[in-house]
């Protein structure tokens, strides 16, 4: 008993869990079984700490075809017989240790989650966090991660269309790599990871099983330490070419109607894909490890079951259709082996030839994991006091402040990054990366898909509840800015060690904020990913919730874009103006201060802003639109001018609209719920009236004019100068990736 218990502990099982397993089995579990329980009960697979908290997410909605937790990814109905499948997954720990392969396999994993549901993946996005870009280590990570993401997506032929990249010293040594994939399918081709039908054959398809990635799920459930590079064998190596073959073969199998269940082998490999498919269908399963194709000699049952070798799928095929399935696998030169059968009951029987390697109840393995009610302890929030606010110096040169923000890597153009991604393949990308949201046409319909991936680390660090609200509200606004109707979200929650009460409190409050925002904005949660233990020797990273939101434009000809269109158009600002400077990029870049208060959020007004934008886009009253976020109004104005194909500038008018606020808050405050619009002069009144009808304050603040941003006696910058700073920030720090 003692020895087995020691093994159990080294596999991350608690004494309590060990006793429970032994009790149910009526005997001591063997080492293979302990390995299976260890990995299935790990935080990564069982959501032991997060499950009680995630319950507050709203998961109901009339469009939801598959709800959170029911499939590998969420599925929503978008009309015309089509459904969208989408999900986010993190690959933070592997990317910290081996950036290229870590990021590449993260992309590979999320793509599999989407096509296992029967959908053709049509878009990839990613949300990345790194330390200071000036540091050589960060530069190496950026090159590796961007290279790895590009490598996988480019070879797969799935465009990487958007996302975000943020730099902050909190992520030094623990970068965050969250990848999102969106797929589209005919609603009737929805496929489940649900094994059914006694005697149906279980097929293993794809790459051989090796020792790579052994115990990756357990690796992801620990803090990063100096010794983490010794975990490099826990990082897998990606083969996107093989995955491309798997994708095409699996979609062909689904169209042929021979598939009962499909699941990818991701975290916890074979043990997770088999047992969870069985659990979902309420059946048992019997597999034989001797039949599993291997790439290494002398692998033990433990190693075969837990290997996380990439590009492998588990399929349950309709009995009698084995030959049709085999023909399709052969067409795509794929190795497919029948490794077992679906059985009656709750028994998961793992044979190794004639010997029993493991024999455990499916339910105990998949649903028996302990759930922890973690302790949460509130952390006092550092804020800029009223006195500090009054004493905050007003810079003498606002133009120089804007220059520094445009050159700050978090705000600057990410062209250096996304030009390394094929963002056009499949010829759907109507609005390319670099906009508020990416927009893709949906061929065969009049509709377009708008999708964004946005997170809020600093806000959440300073106020987890508002950070949660803002993560959702910002994504919502990104879609609204394109004229899309936001429909649903997926999320990636990146936090520190949940056993620390302060970290768990951040997690809990953040989820509560996100849940509240999703409820009011009517964008239910379809699924997501929790990544804990994002810590390095210096402590936890800023808690970073990432939201991936999808929306639909009913008319692909009515897409709104960021760039100013024509001289003489009026510039309008919708939303409240407040003296909010806390948590801003301005405070951080100019004063080196990371302090709240985080801007307040009014959810009904965010919802009204979404409705207003739909209304205006539908009536064709708006010529350009851009939501205000990092860097506030000044950066938004600069971006609209820089992205104007004609280089159109703006002249801000003096007047009552400033409400007597200081230029710091006016120009650089990051108040929520605001949108910058331009319209033809003759439509000014109609737009302002529409805003008022939706209960939102709006005013004219200037006019499209010249080739510069001009606020008389305050700020003057030419569009060309700003473009140089904004577009060149990465190249100045990282060197050229290409000439022009």
């Amino acid at each position: 008993m003692m020895m087995e218990q020691n093994v159990a502990q080294s596999l991350g099982l608690t004494e309590e869990a060990f006793m429970k397993i032994a009790g149910v089995l009526g005997r001591e579990p063997n080492v293979t079984e302990l390995g299976m329980f260890g990995v299935m009960y790990s935080e990564h697979c069982s959501y032991a700490s997060s499950k009680p908290v995630l319950k507050v997410f709203p998961t109901e909605g009339s469009r939801l075809l598959v709800r959170a937790g029911e499939g590998d990814a969420g599925v929503i109905d978008i009309g015309e017989g089509l459904a969208l499948v989408f999900k986010i997954e993190s690959h933070n720990h592997p990317s910290a240790v081996e950036p290229f392969q870590g990021a590449a396999t993260g992309v590979g994993g999320i793509i599999r989650d989407v096509f296992t549901m029967g959908a053709r993946p049509i878009a990839l996005l990613n949300s990345l966090r790194f330390g200071r870009l000036e540091s050589p280590r960060t530069q190496q990570l950026v090159r590796g991660v961007v290279g790895g993401i590009g490598f996988y997506g480019n070879v797969m032929g799935i465009p990487t269309v958007g996302g975000e990249v943020v730099f902050d010293e909190t992520y030094d040594g623990n970068p965050l790599v969250n990848a999102m994939c969106v797929g589209v399918m005919k609603a009737e081709e929805l496929t489940r990871a649900r094994a059914e039908g006694e005697h149906n054959p279980v097929f293993y398809v794809g790459a051989t099983t090796g020792r790579d990635g052994l115990g990756g799920a357990s690796f992801a459930s620990r803090d990063l330490s100096e010794a983490s590079s010794a975990d490099r064998p826990a990082v897998q190596v990606g083969d996107p070419f093989l995955e491309k073959l798997l994708l095409e073969a699996c979609l062909e199998l689904i169209q042929e109607g021979v598939v009962v269940s499909m699941k990818d082998m991701g975290a916890a490999g074979l043990v997770c894909s088999t047992s969870e498919s069985a659990a979902a269908g309420g059946v048992g399963m019997k597999i034989d490890l001797e039949k599993v194709p291997r790439r290494a000699q002398g692998m033990t049952p433990y190693e075969i079951l837990l290997s996380e070798s990439q590009e492998r799928m588990l399929l349950v095929i309709r009995k009698g259709e084995e030959q049709r399935a085999r023909r399709i696998f052969e067409k795509w030169d794929l190795e497919a082996v029948e490794i077992g059968r679906v059985t009656d009951g709750d028994r998961f029987l793992v044979m190794n030839g004639s010997e029993v390697a493991a024999d455990v109840p499916v339910s105990l393995l998949t649903r028996g994991a302990p759930v922890y009610e973690r302790e949460a302890r509130e952390v006092p929030q550092p804020v800029l006091s009223d006195e500090e606010r009054r004493k905050l110096p007003q810079p003498r040169d606002w133009g120089a402040v804007l220059d520094r923000l445009l050159d700050s890597p978090t705000i600057a153009s990410k062209r250096w990054v996304w030009e390394q991604y094929d963002h056009m393949v499949r010829t759907n990308t109507v609005v390319p990366p670099g906009a508020d949201a990416a927009v893709l046409r949906l061929k065969g319909t009049r509709m377009a898909l708008a999708v964004t991936c946005d997170g809020s680390g600093r806000y959440t660090a300073l106020d987890p509840y508002r950070g949660g609200l803002l993560a959702v509200a910002e994504s919502y606004r990104n879609l609204a800015a394109c004229g899309a109707e936001p429909l649903a979200i997926t999320n990636g929650l990146n936090f520190g060690n949940p056993q620390k009460p302060e970290v768990f409190w951040q997690f809990k409050r953040c989820v509560e904020g996100m849940a509240e925002a999703c409820r009011v904005l009517e964008t239910p949660v379809t699924g997501g990913n929790v990544s804990f233990y994002n810590e390095n020797p210096a402590g936890a990273v800023d808690p970073t919730p990432i939201v991936g939101m999808v929306g639909i434009l009913r008319d692909a000809d009515r897409i709104l874009t960021t760039g100013f269109k024509e001289q003489g158009d009026v510039v309008l600002l919708v939303g409240h103006l407040r003296d909010e400077i806390g948590a801003s990029e301005y405070l951080k870049v100019i004063f080196g201060r990371k302090l709240g208060p985080v801007p307040m959020v009014n959810l009904p007004e965010e919802k009204a802003l979404g409705s207003l934008m739909l209304d205006l886009a539908g009536r064709g009253l708006v010529r350009s639109s851009h939501d205000l976020s990092e860097g506030g109004l000044a950066v938004a104005l600069a971006e609209c001018a820089i992205k104007s194909s004609e280089g159109v500038g703006v002249k801000i008018e003096a007047g009552h609209w400033t409400q007597g606020l200081g230029w710091d808050a006016l120009l650089f405050g990051e108040g929520a719920g605001r949108m910058l619009l331009t319209a033809k002069q003759e439509h000014e009144k109609e737009v302002l009236e529409a805003a008022s009808r939706h209960g939102l304050p709006a005013r004219r603040i200037g006019i499209c004019h010249g080739r510069e941003i001009l606020i008389e006696r305050v700020l003057q910058r030419s569009v060309e100068e700003m473009r140089h700073l904004y577009e060149g920030a990465f190249t100045r720090r990282l060197g050229e990736t290409h000439v022009r």
């Binding site: 070879v155 491309k244 390394q420 393949v425 499949r426 010829t427 990308t429």
Partner: protein, 230 residues
């Protein structure tokens, strides 16, 4: 006209080419699986972009041994029209249907963006609807598009006017600044001596509809349709 779009394992622009040929240009087009042989009845074969066999050895190096390539070579030798785009161009080089070779981009990174191109020969099957010297816009998306050939080959290409497209400034000048991948003589697209086989790195199928931001690529396909009809 009837187009065959060849699909190797790892080809990724097959759907895009088929859609442009069928939906935008109203032509007949079907995918041709790389294991097919004895192709008949096609007016043009298109080798689309992608990463055939993952391009793990060298771009196009494995695809050229696919069963279908023997037929493609015979088809080209009989004078049939063949277009190789991006990876398709790389495969045509490996198969010896076009001269030269590809190196990694000068910057060693994958590049996806619009480029401006100068039409150097507007008298080929594939370029007759452009004006000589015209500057057009198309996207590139590749990691190995740095065209190379020895000096004799280059002299032949120049002498026989086999260079169809070159990376150029919006004003039509050949500068290093406008040469995204470091190609020899800014070469973006060439034809064989007989003029029936075209290889190009830019993606005309991605520049065939206004909704995607450009239509200059469509005229390449239209040129061929026009040339073969008359």
């Amino acid at each position: 006209m009837k187009f065959g779009v060849i699909v190797f394992p790892g080809t990724k622009c097959d759907h895009d080419c088929l859609q442009v040929l069928r939906e935008v240009l109203g032509q007949e087009a079907r995918p041709v699986w790389h294991k097919e042989t004895g192709l008949a009845g096609f007016d043009c074969l298109v080798l689309p972009g992608g990463f055939s066999y993952g391009d793990y050895l060298r771009t196009g190096a494995i695809a050229r041994f696919s069963p279908v390539m023997e037929t493609v070579i015979q088809y080209a030798e009989r004078g049939g029209a063949v277009i190789g785009i991006c990876n398709g161009f790389q495969i045509l080089l490996e198969a010896g249907l076009l001269p030269g070779a590809m190196l990694r981009n000068r910057t060693l990174s994958f590049i996806c963006r619009d480029v401006t191109l100068r039409v150097d020969n507007a008298q080929t099957l594939f370029s007759s609807l452009y004006r000589a010297g015209e500057v057009i816009r198309m996207p590139i998306a590749h990691g190995e598009g740095n065209y190379y050939a020895d000096s004799e080959t280059l002299a032949r290409l120049l002498g026989r006017r086999q260079i169809v497209l070159r990376y150029a400034s919006p004003e039509g000048e050949l500068t290093e600044r406008d040469n995204p991948n470091g190609s020899l003589a800014s070469i973006a697209g060439i034809v064989n001596e007989r003029g029936n086989v075209l290889g190009l790195m830019p993606h005309p199928e991605r520049a065939s509809e206004a909704a995607l931001g450009g239509e200059d690529g469509r005229r390449l396909f239209e040129s061929l349709i026009h040339s073969l009809k008359t």
